[in-house]
Symmetry: C2
Subunit: 346 residues, 2 copies
């Protein structure tokens, strides 16, 4: 199958006429070794092409110097900024950072990766997203005490771990307020899969902001997509079919917004002159079919969250004392682009 090289520390020791302990000290830069001996060892290492075996090290030191990240659908452009954040702080840490991707909702491979990683493969795991709120996985994680972990964007109440959360409620409120500020009163909401926590929170934010502003939340102004964001198209059509269509539509996310805008454009509406559309996520990359205006959106600091999660774990792994889990809620920010205009209805 493969021709093992199999140069071990003992081979080096023999070659250099020292003990394996000395070699180990040279390799690990423990400076209790005489310069000429160190050189002899270094030469032997070079001559034999030795490099220390990871598994053996991990076994004796009980750590791997590796951090694992689990997301679903790593290929999703949504992760663009998050990955950039991970990459950036990976560069700055001594830990090797590795990504695992779970396709779609595949529970089996999700469990496979969670169990695999948390079992001595890495020192810490970063989990993105509510797709992980599976009973089985959560129960498993509760038991895990041999790795540190960070959950991003998912707040499982009874799980005592580091949590980096996004203020979805606040973000949705911001969005609606912004639309109101542009003079809109008839504001609809296209809501993503309502079983997902994120989506639910954004819906709540919409409702809350409307009520606080004394605006009625008309039932037919809230359209829910199926699990697929493509149905944003159908939702927008439903809104435009109303006798009094909204003048602005706030969508759960930009992917939905892109399809909603497409629907409006296909019916001859102009964006934002005839109808304003607002998204969430500030996703800078959209499917290539998209030809609408750039989407005014609520931006989450994914880049920072990616950076922070690696940094936080790094710090915790290096600290000698037990640390309380952190819990950070990140605020969102409106990014004004082209898809929202001033309300023209009287």
């Amino acid at each position: 199958m493969k021709s093992q090289k199999g140069v071990s520390i003992l081979d080096v020791a023999r070659e250099a006429n020292v003990s394996s302990a000395t070699v180990s000290r040279v390799v690990n830069n423990i400076n209790k070794v005489k310069p000429e001996v160190r050189q002899k060892v270094l030469d032997a290492i070079d001559a034999l092409g030795y490099s220390p075996n990871h598994a053996a090290r991990a076994l004796v030191k009980q750590k791997t110097n590796c951090i694992g990240i689990i997301v679903n659908n790593l290929h999703d452009p949504f992760f663009h900024d998050l990955i950039k954040g991970f990459e950036m702080s990976a560069q700055q840490t001594k830990y090797a950072v590795m990504f695992c991707s779970v396709l779609g909702g595949d529970v089996a491979s999700k469990e496979k990766y969670v169990k695999y990683l948390t079992n001595g493969v890495v020192d810490a795991v970063i989990l993105y997203g509510s797709y992980l709120s599976d009973e089985s996985v959560i129960n498993y994680l509760k038991e895990i005490r041999n790795v540190d972990y960070v959950m991003i964007e998912d707040d499982v109440p009874f799980l005592a771990c580091n949590k980096l959360l996004i203020d979805n409620l606040g973000g949705a409120r911001q969005a609606v307020k912004y639309l109101i500020g542009k003079g809109h009163r008839d504001i609809a909401h296209i809501c993503g899969n309502p079983n997902k926590k994120v989506t639910k929170e954004r819906l709540d934010g919409y409702v809350d902001a409307m009520e606080k502003a004394g605006l009625e939340v008309k039932e037919q102004y809230v359209q829910c997509t199926s699990t697929d964001y493509r149905s944003g198209y159908a939702c927008m059509n439903a809104l435009l079919d109303l006798e009094q269509p909204p003048t602005a539509v706030f969508c759960s996310d930009d992917a939905i917004a892109s399809f909603a805008i497409r629907a409006a454009l296909d019916r001859g509406f102009r964006i934002p002159e005839d109808i304003s559309v607002m998204g969430f996520d500030n996703q800078t990359i959209l499917p290539d079919h998209y030809r609408g205006p750039e989407i005014t959106s609520v931006s989450q600091p994914l880049y920072n969250i990616g950076m922070d999660s690696v940094r936080i774990l790094s710090e915790r792994l290096n600290s000698s004392e037990e640390m309380e889990p952190v819990r950070i809620t990140y605020q969102t920010e409106i990014v004004e682009k082209e898809s929202v205009g001033v309300c023209r209805r009287e």
Copy 2:
């Protein structure tokens, strides 16, 4: 730092009143164990929450059941399809598949990952792209015989490993022939960073197809970008400034094409009525600034390449006999979209 659970196979053995060997046999499904004993062990495992330590296993078995993938800039939308391919076949293999990302041209972290992975962390590595043609890395890889690996899109001649290549030359020829087929004669080329092999090959393909068709390759019709694909904008402007501008432009890749198109549009040209533009890569995701037509392009089967690379390594790792490295060249395919039209020049 962290409260170790530390349940070992010995704890289970004690709890179940058997030897560690028996526990091991149960865990690994070696069916030489009596049903009632098996159950006793299973109960003990459950009671103690045992799961086998990865490092210890890896150490004794000399394998990790893991495949590592190294790419630069994992966040780059270019990798969309490739990642999808990896994900898909990851799902189908028993191997855990993990991604490592190297930011930009950071040689230090590139080396870090290559050395880290090839040293008992994984059983096999997949390397994407010519960014790895660093002397130091290549020399290192030559020495490595304890992992299998696949190189995608980079053919280092004296490196005997599995290679999955793309016929860039042929793809470029296809593209130019296609443009000629549309009646174009004045065909320019915007060439990416000419130090990169890929780009060089595509340039060669362009020249070759032009010559074979008896068309002159005018020097000013070949524009090279700097290292940044954004300079496709400037290149297009240079072409449009010529007294006889081309009627069609073939670009090294879609990212460049998107900027070239932008430049043409900004000067009031219509695509494809006034000038045709063709790309390479069939990148379905483009930066959100892009508002041009969908780009007619040469598509590489990245999804298949992703799938194949994992599959090939899986097979090789499981085979007991030594296998010759494979070398596959993938053919490209024209994807007709909106950016190329029939030539209107007399």
